[in-house]
């Protein structure tokens, strides 16, 4: 083994969504970073549907943008079509979803990586961790080098002992066609990490020219300019569409006839798959009463003619996939360019992580993305960003960046993983967030940009841009709360059109905006003087004012819980010494080692009485210790 001449602050293993965000964040914070990727052409690769966003996932992307992440830029620069979802369902669940060009998306990341100061990237296959005295020192690779690093971030995606299943065939592989990482998992086990097995599937891809698209309903891009990134104007995308089709009775018959060749129904795979994204054979088995399932045909790139079938993932044999595909309306003559498959891989039980995504028993070792049991590009990128920031903060000797559940979807994601673990691929959902009304797409900048600024990821230009934006919104808010609008025929006819009562006497503009259904855009033309806000800023203000009562209520709930979040638990707390704890709670607390009293309360099976006991025990510890410094 040859020790590489340069020693790094941070070594990132992996070049996917988590690895790229981690490498960029750490390098931008001034760290000397080395990114090792087993195949450079796969930087920022999207092996499943090249779609970014949707409820909860879109929130994560926007939050990443506010913290100084790159995914929003990659998605915006490669979007083929983009639109709002859930616009009629309330302010908290509205989200963007884009269909991206997978080549342009990956190219964006590759160029960003290659152009980044302080960041070296190299094609290498990591085989072993270098750990001494409970701290990581670096990694060893297949090609004979040992690289020294103060911190290591593992972001190996589905490659750890990856195994692909297509019908009765199965073999070790990364995403179909890629080499897997077979040595690293054994090294992780040797170093005492508890590993599990998990699974996900993807769909066959079709050749565009073999589809009968005119017969299908199409879905286009939004007509207004849209963007995930806080720093972009937004763009209108034209020329590409998604198409709707459905599975048929014939599809279901083909599936049922071939279950004896299905790795899923035959139980050949050991890893648990995601319940929210079941394969089509799983759906047919579990919901036999459903006659048809909605499917989307979606383009994957401007640069080639492959089409993805959303909701049609499968691990049935290729001949069965062909018959299934041809039973779909519009796909009677379809040609499959690559088969769908299931992939099973090793993950690290995330209960072994601290909330800064560091492995508790190996100082300086961080994990991000699918290795932690999550699925999805957005979930991966979010963790990568946090792991990169926290590795850099660790090198600097500063406190980690830990987001609370009331602060960000990212906070919920990490807290769920490290407090409750996961047995199936974890996907972000808005219903996982108990403070959903506070965690909106429209206020991600207010929630997180100050933290991005503090870590150094947001430069002056971006920061000043936001300061100006907030100043405009706050100014307009004051104006609305100070100006009275007089009744006029024009105003009242606009109100009548919305089924809202006419004004009889002058009313505060803010009060008018508090009425259900009345938008800012209706009120702004009637305001004397001053300039109206842009649509985007106007929306942010409208939500704050209209939903102020509900938002305040959730904020009060948060204040109530915050006290518990502020009580830190010592890392070496001896749970065996606390009288009265239930044996099961004691065990779980010792395993999770929660950082705060609040986190302790979220461990499943730990009761409110246990929390009271903990709090009293902490208090008695504190009283026993004489105050430092004074006297």
């Amino acid at each position: 083994m040859i020790l590489f001449e340069k020693k790094y602050d941070c070594i990132v293993v992996g070049g996917g969504h988590a690895g790229c965000e981690a490498a960029l964040a750490a390098a931008r914070m001034g760290m000397a970073v080395l990114q090792l990727n087993l195949f450079l052409d796969n930087t920022g690769h999207m092996p499943c549907n090249p779609s970014i966003g949707g409820p909860a996932k879109g929130h994560l992307v926007r939050e990443g943008s506010a913290l100084g992440g790159e995914q929003a830029e990659a998605a915006d620069s490669s979007a083929m079509l983009i639109r709002w979802l859930n616009t009629s369902k309330g302010p908290a669940v509205q989200a963007l979803r884009a269909q991206c060009d997978l080549r342009e998306y990956a190219a964006h990341f590759l160029l960003a990586i290659e152009s980044q100061k302080n960041l070296d990237v190299r094609q290498e296959l990591v085989t072993d961790l270098w750990v001494e005295d409970g701290a990581v020192r670096g990694v060893r690779t297949k090609y004979g080098y040992t690289y020294g690093g103060r911190t290591v971030i593992l972001a190996p995606g589905t490659y750890l002992s990856g195994k692909v299943y297509i019908g009765t065939e199965s073999f070790f592989s990364g995403p179909l066609g890629q080499i897997p990482s077979l040595d690293l998992p054994a090294s992780l086990r040797t170093h005492g990490l508890e590993m599990g097995r998990i699974r996900t599937d993807t769909t066959p891809r079709l050749h565009l020219d073999t589809l009968d698209l005119p017969s299908l309903q199409q879905q286009g891009s939004a007509e207004k300019p849209l963007a995930f990134s806080l720093w972009r104007e937004g763009a209108v995308h034209e020329g590409y569409f998604c198409y709707l089709t459905r599975s048929t009775q014939e599809t279901h018959d083909v599936i049922r006839e071939n279950l004896s060749r299905s790795p899923l129904s035959m139980g050949w795979m050991e890893g648990a798959g995601p319940r929210y994204c079941p394969s089509i054979e799983d759906k047919v088995l579990r919901f036999p009463e459903k006659e048809s399932h909605l499917l989307f045909l979606e383009p994957v790139s401007r640069g080639n003619k492959e089409v993805y079938i959303q909701n049609f993932s499968t691990s049935l044999p290729l001949d069965v996939q062909t018959a299934m595909v041809r039973s779909l309306p519009g796909c009677e003559r379809a040609h499959i360019t690559r088969p769908g498959y299931a992939i099973e891989y090793d993950y690290v039980n995330p209960l072994q992580l601290t909330p800064s995504l560091e492995i508790k028993k190996i100082s300086g070792l961080f994990c991000a993305g699918q290795i932690n049991g999550t699925s999805g590009y957005e979930e991966a990128a979010a963790q990568g960003l946090l792991a990169g920031v926290n590795a850099a903060l660790k090198v600097r000797g500063e406190d980690p960046l830990i987001l609370s559940r009331s602060e960000a979807y990212m906070g919920v994601l990490v807290d769920d993983l490290v407090t409750r673990g996961t047995q199936e691929p974890y996907r972000m959902l808005t219903s996982r967030c108990e403070h959903r009304l506070l965690l909106r797409h429209d206020n991600a900048d207010r929630r997180l940009a100050p933290l991005g600024r503090k870590t150094g990821l947001l430069g002056d230009e971006k920061w000043n841009f936001l300061l100006a934006r907030w100043k405009r919104i706050d100014g307009e808010r004051e104006r609305l709360e100070g100006v009275r609008l007089s009744p006029s025929d024009e105003l009242n006819s606009e109100l009548a059109a919305l089924d809202s009562a006419p004004l009889r006497e002058p009313a505060l503009a803010g009060d008018l905006l508090r009425r259900p259904r009345v938008p800012y855009s209706l009120i702004s033309p009637f305001l004397p003087g001053g300039e109206a806000l842009s649509e985007d800023e106007g929306h942010a203000l409208e939500v704050e004012i209209k939903y102020g009562g509900y938002i305040d209520r959730q904020r009060r709930q948060v204040t109530r819980l915050e006290k518990m979040e502020e009580v830190l638990l010592p890392g070496d707390l001896d749970y065996g010494a606390i009288k009265g704890l239930l044996a099961e709670s004691r065990q779980k607390l010792a395993k999770v080692r929660p950082r705060t009293l609040g986190q302790a309360g979220r461990i499943s099976g730990v009761t409110p009485a246990d929390i009271q006991l903990l709090s009293i025990y902490l208090n008695s510890l504190r009283r026993r210790e004489p105050c430092e410094g004074t006297k």
Partner: protein, 469 residues
């Protein structure tokens, strides 16, 4: 009355009934936290208002309901911080007329913004404010653990049978409403079965009404069905039924048969010194066939294990039977009283002797054993006292009282959140906002039913709806 937002904890106002269940004497409702005096003042009409009364000065006056009508004569006193049990501002209201008034008083305070104290919370606050010193800390841990366990047992006990089934049905309805709404929010591109919003409003309002009806029933007597479970156990023909009849005859309060609770078991409710007792006679099981007998035995076994206290009836006119000894072995560690019956009968000549109370007391050291005659009504009053003493020893009475108050509070809170959800939807303020309120209602019902937090909602969504990516 609607529930109100409670202010932040540690310093927020907590309340609970501090005394045990019973008609004798008085019941004390305790209120602690800054603003306790002002809150209590809203429901009191005293000769001199509390705010003009010096601390530790007992005042006479009336307890008023939310409309300002007097309910009962009470005494009230307040303690200024830090010289109170908890070290915080603390008020005590001493009610007459038994626990029903105390419950009403507690109810008023909870509706006025107080929070029902967690088990052991007064003691915890006393410790945190330094009123209890460090050497007592471990004792505090013990108090909290045991109070919580009692509260848990009491909650399970009060929520049984018909009420539990009813509450679970309501919970399932809320879960279904919440689940379909959340699924539509998280998976907007799926073809989920989506109802119209106004249908949803009607459905939510219907569940809310069911909860309100349940609240009314709780207030008008359903709570009488809670109470301490007393199992009458023993071999056949030792006089269990006669004892049950004797207890019923003596009781001066309402006697109600509870229909349909447990088949093949006779269950009666009496109040004894103000404490509702559910008497369960395991003698109701006849052995017409082997199958039925087996079922009867398993029922009796369940009653034996779940009961708060057991009356072991022994036939004093004959020597102990091997079956008696088997039962006796299982009593230590479980609250019980032994009644040696048939003190009116002469010793069975043929069997050679009788079983005396002294003999049983030797057999079960530390147990309360007394000699009675169910037939002639001798020793019944003493038996009642002993039953109450056995329960009071474990602190079960107070826990039971507060447990049912907590349950009423959860039901009220669930109803309030459903109302919010329906109003939000009707006003067109967004399904996500309504979904949050539904979620709160769901969590209140989960606490009521003792369902572990975790993944019930997601489990429901993934099992009911076929979802893609």
């Amino acid at each position: 009355m609607e529930r109100k937002e409670t202010p932040p904890p540690e310093g927020d106002i907590i309340a609970a009934i501090g005394t045990a269940w019973g008609e004798a004497g008085i019941a004390i409702v305790r209120i602690s936290g800054e603003g306790s005096r002002e809150l209590a003042g809203k429901f009191l009409s005293l000769a001199v208002p509390l705010e003009d009364t010096p601390p530790r000065f007992l005042r006479n006056g009336s307890l008023l309901d939310d409309k300002g009508d007097p309910i009962d004569q009470v005494l009230a006193v307040w303690f200024a911080p830090p010289k109170s049990y908890t070290g915080e501002e603390l008020v005590e209201i001493h009610t007459h007329g038994g626990t029903l008034v105390a419950r009403k008083c507690l109810d008023l305070l909870l509706c006025g913004g107080a929070r029902l104290a967690e088990p052991g919370e007064f003691t915890r606050r006393a410790f945190l404010s330094g009123r209890i010193d460090l050497t007592q800390a471990e004792a505090v841990l013990g108090v909290i653990r045991s109070r919580s366990d009692e509260a848990l047992r009491a909650a399970v006990r009060t929520l049984r049978g018909e009420l539990a089934e009813f509450a679970r049905d309501i919970y399932n309805e809320i879960l279904a409403l919440s689940g379909s709404l959340e699924a539509a929010l998280d998976f907007p591109e799926e073809d989920l079965p989506s109802g119209e919003e106004d249908e949803l409003v009607l459905a939510i309002q219907a569940v809310e009404q069911t909860l309100r009806d349940l609240l009314d029933r709780c207030a008008t007597g359903l709570l009488l069905r809670e109470g301490i479970r007393v199992a009458i156990v023993g071999r056949p023909n030792v006089g269990k039924s006669s004892l049950l009849n004797a207890l019923l005859k003596e009781s001066r309060a309402i006697v109600t048969a509870i229909p349909g609770t447990t088949r093949d078991l006779i269950e009666e409710v009496i109040t004894c010194r103000g404490v509702p007792l559910r008497l369960i006679d395991t003698a109701g099981m006849g052995p017409p066939s082997d199958e039925a007998e087996a079922m009867g035995i398993s029922l009796a076994e369940g009653v034996f294990q779940d009961a708060d206290v057991r009356i072991w009836v022994v036939d004093g006119s004959v020597p102990l039977h091997p079956d008696d000894l088997k039962l006796a072995e299982r009593l230590p560690g479980r609250e019980h009283v032994v009644a040696v019956n048939k003190s009116d009968l002469p010793p069975g000549a043929a069997e050679g002797g009788r079983t005396t109370a002294e003999f049983v007391a030797d057999l079960l050291p530390g147990s309360t054993v007394l000699s009675i005659s169910a037939k002639e009504n001798r020793g019944i009053e003493m038996l009642k006292d002993d039953i109450l003493a056995a329960i009071a020893g474990g602190g079960t009475l107070e826990a039971g009282l507060n447990a049912s108050a907590r349950q009423v509070e959860e039901i009220r809170s669930a109803a309030g959140f459903l109302k919010d959800a329906a109003e939000t939807l009707s006003a067109g303020m967004g399904q996500d906002v309504a979904a949050s309120s539904l979620g709160e209602a769901r969590r209140a019902m989960e606490r009521l039913l003792g369902i572990e937090k975790d993944d019930t909602l997601l489990d429901y969504i993934f099992s009911q709806f076929c979802l893609g990516k």
